[in-house]
Amino acid sequence: MDIFTQAEILLRDSHYETWRWTGSAGSVICFENAALMGFVHVFDTADTLLSTWSANQQAALTRHAVSLRGAGAKAWNVYSVFLTPDKDMQQGRQIERIEENFSLTRKLARASITTPDDVERALLPLLSIRSKPLLGASNFETRLRTRLKDIPPDAVIALLNEATPADVARILGEVS
């Protein structure tokens, strides 16, 4: 899986404009919508991410400094996303601690990014709500009739047809 490509797919699905910029530290995905903008950096290893994320962030910001200075309040809404497929658990925790650094940009930093779901989980703060439960009809009556096949059908019909409870009880008493 190509993390860059998957990230662009997800961001475009959420109505971000995305494009790729290649600087001295390699490729970066730039993204922006009505409220946010940011950069996605991908690293081969956790070591590389931990050692170079700050420099890469700075390089991207420097490159776009002019634009950011003219962005007004939106300049506060810059995200730096640092991702690596490396699965080192120990370093994974260190990487996530990067997110608690609030200087310059809001950071999303994750290791073990190997599937599209991993990319989606990492980018969740940038995306609209993903889960949209579709609650359809439950066919209660059909299911209940099937469940009550040993009960006299007249009583079940009366119950579902909103006969009085006393009438339903009477029918049950007559056929018992």
């Binding site: 730039c30 922006e32 995306l127 299911r143």
Partner: protein, 682 residues
Amino acid sequence: MRLDSIEICGFRGFRDLVQITFGRGFTVITGRNGVGKSTLCDAVEFAITGSISKYAVEKAAKESLSDYLWWRGEGVPDAHYVKVSFVDDDGELFTITRTRESGADHSVDEIHAMLCHSSAPDDALRQLTRTSIIRDEWIAALSLDLTETERFDLVRSALGALEGSEAGSRAKEVVAAAEAAHSKDENVYGAARSRLTDKLTQQSEAQAALSRSGDLSSALQIIGAAAPEAPPELTERLTAGRHALANGRVRLDKMEDALQLGREVALAQAAYNAPETVADREAALAAHEAAQREYQTVQRAVLEAEQRLIREEDMDVMAASLSLLVEHGEQLGLHEDHCPLCAAHRTSEEFAAGLAAARRRITSLASGVQAARDVLAAAKENAQQPSLTLQAVGVKVQAHANELRQLREQEAAHVEFYKQWSIDPRFLNDPDGLEQAISSERGRLIDLERALLVLEASQAVAQISSIESSISTLRSEVENLAQAVSKSKNAVTAAREIERSVRRVSAEIIDERLAQISPLLNELYQRLRPHAEWKTIDYSIRGDVRRFLSLKVGDGLNPQFVFSSGQRRAAGLAFLLSVHLARAWTPLRTLLLDDPVQHIDDFRALHLVEVLAAFRLDGRQIICAVEDPALADLLCRRLVSTATESGRRLDIDHGPLGVTNVITEQEIHPMPVSVLRGLATA
């Protein structure tokens, strides 16, 4: 549908009129503690439901919330009311005004019709405010700190009215109706059994009194001997005794008939076997044999005479034919010296001699017929007397045979009678023994009848009969009532099965729905990230009658006990927000949050802001009251404001006279786009 504006006057801390127009995209309200941020949420809830549910204690020191709904500070408000306006996607306004004096200007049904779909849960308006307004007080109370049952009920309510929820309550009513009918039947049955018990006690006492009477006691013994199979009840025993008496009488009559028959058979046998009768029978048989022999002899003579006559008559016929032939030949005469009859060459002499010889032969043939007739007549005359004799002797022998047959028939009828009436066969040839048995049976029947008369004449018996009659009726009644109880019991069982099935089907549907919203809960949990290690949360449902919803993180751990208070609040928020989003039964797309970040660190507050931003991306209206101006700044920057769904920021504070007012009101404009590309446009 979203909140458009609110107007408050004389309500809680707002003495003077305050009007707030909400941004269609979001509104962030800031203010110090106690300036009335929460009152804005209270006002929305009060306008919709007529009460404020966050105050769980209704009464304290004889005062209740209603005493504090309206302004109680210095000065007098111009009016006391709350007015809340909603606007739908077409721009149509729906306004609810609730005044202190006259309540709401819309009925509950009208408000319900505007804010809820048909599939709304019970008490829908309260559920609507409960799941639309997330207050600081509720984040803990309605999330992780809920009991598992309360949590289940909250989620079920958020899902809206499920198909069959009405059937569930109706099934309960059916169970109640069936149980009431069964209870009634059991009471009637119990009362009948009680009456029966009383009667049985009376019967026992009366029978004890009866047994203490000597005559009655011996009478009972006699009846018991006559009808040993009879039931113990006196009436039954009397009836059985009467039957035994009637049967005994019939049997006695038949025994007497059998005795008569036996005596007749014995007389007939004696007559048939008397010596003179036997000699007479033997003589008749001998005479019959002799007469038969003589009769056969004369009959043979008659037969021979008849055969001889037949032969003679045949020869006479031949002679007559020959005579005609001779006469014809004689008339013709010789013809050229030849015989006209046989064409032989004959002379006249030979022809004449032949004719004479023929005439002699004819005479000889015709002469024997008369003699044979005479012999036959004599033989028949000789046979007449032996025939008469044989006939007379045969009549006598037949008479003796008839006598024997009648005797045998009489004997067979005698045996058959014994069999038919089951009389002891030993008495077949013992009439005297039978007579003795008849005498004994007659005596027994007399004793039995006396015993019956004694009992029937007794007053105790009359009393017992009455009791037994009642007992019989009561037994029948108890039996019928027992059947009715059995039927009504079955009806209760069936009703419970219906109720159980309704509950189970409903529970299954809820389980399925919860399974459907589970990814949403997990997504919000992942977004809020209350814990660094436990990145997902699972739920499980258990229970049948009472339902429990448990939340688990990691290896089945209960977050209620392993999370810090801040983490619990963050996890609780994920739960409440998923409940809010799962509602499909309301068109209202507004989420109000009253200071949701207390006890939450900055990092997790940022996560919450990002979640609210995601809600905004989904087109929902966010109204959020916070104390921290920096957080308000963050919200205003992070929540999307567009040309059609703009944002607003309000700062409220007390004025110089201690009255709450809106100090600043700011429109949050959309941010520039295409900034990074250097094509920025505002």
